[in-house]
Subunit: 236 residues, 2 copies
Amino acid sequence: MRSREETRHDTVLLDVDGTLVDSTYHHALAWHRAFRRHDISLPMWRVHRSIGMGGDRLVGVLAGDDVEQRIGDELRSAWHEEYAKLADEVEPLPGAADLVRTLSRRFTVALGSSGKPEFTRQAVDLVGVRDDVAVVTTSEDAPSSKPAPDILEIALQKSGGRSAIVIGDSTFDVSSAARMGAPCVAIRTGGFGADELRDAGAVLVARGLPDLLDADWDELARMQPPPGASDEPPLP
Amino acid sequence: MRSREETRHDTVLLDVDGTLVDSTYHHALAWHRAFRRHDISLPMWRVHRSIGMGGDRLVGVLAGDDVEQRIGDELRSAWHEEYAKLADEVEPLPGAADLVRTLSRRFTVALGSSGKPEFTRQAVDLVGVRDDVAVVTTSEDAPSSKPAPDILEIALQKSGGRSAIVIGDSTFDVSSAARMGAPCVAIRTGGFGADELRDAGAVLVARGLPDLLDADWDELARMQPPPGASDEPPLP
């Protein structure tokens, strides 16, 4: 039988885009512009709701496998160009540095992003928490992007932690976490509705990072993801 | 006692931004850029959730009455410039023209927008439904913007209708409708969560306009808004 100490998560894994920096809407616009370059017209709200999965999956999910096979790489390259033009507008989300520093006193803190390394580095520098986190893991470190658990699993492994709580802003963070057995605390900053995050299996939904300073981290450190949270989140 | 025919709504009032054209996210970015010009930093998701109320109210609600009094008009002017740069990217939402034409065979159809006349005209031309609607009402025609009912009431009055069903995409459309006693059908295209729209009092929530072709319009034409739907929608 494991002791109580052993069942307590020792690590917090944080998502970056939409969680530490306010980049979700810029990513949505960049993808929308990338698709438009190829005469593919998608409602912005559907593009928005797909931000948080990796770019390797997004094209096929939104535009179909045929488009992915035909011009997937061209679309990702167009997205990269379009996002680079918008990246300077991206700001830290309120409370990001404060929460990371506060959590780092009680937990090992690691960052796990589905994003490109250059944009993730830029985001981490912007928030100014490089010295407060054990490791930063990006799409380059993992074979499959969210909602696959690979990025989070590698972040946990590299950080030397035993088990983790995840903080994210999208349904993909929730299911990605659940697939490695981790509970996910979700914040509204990615623009998902509270019900979408709860239905995905978030164990707590908060407006933003400052609200998590007052959360009961002792309780969260003992939680497990609810049944079904590891399912592929449906795109609305 | 009113006959059954008299209790049947004879008019459909449609919102324009986010309902007929895919402009919600462009409006959010334009407002975000406008606030940034004045060194006011607001999380994008909160700006997004305020799109649908009029610009006369948005500044005070998002940034406070002090900011409204000090630089409200400058912010609106900055938004206008920023949105004008993005407006060419705005596209009709799928099914917009088809739904307007289909409904116009059974109902008087009128458009009621909180937007600026020039952008609303541009949107209506883009969708190509000017000849299918009885009237287009914009912020210029009404003293107060949504969620006040003025714009919808004036649109109903000008169209010669007796009572209306409203189709919109935001919680502000729902409460604006309820304040004139009209039920509101809400679509997800503005990026609100389904629960946000249902909680606001939408009598039906659909993914988009094509889904409304199959709705039971006989039933909708007899519905009333639920109690509480006229309350000011809370900003999340």
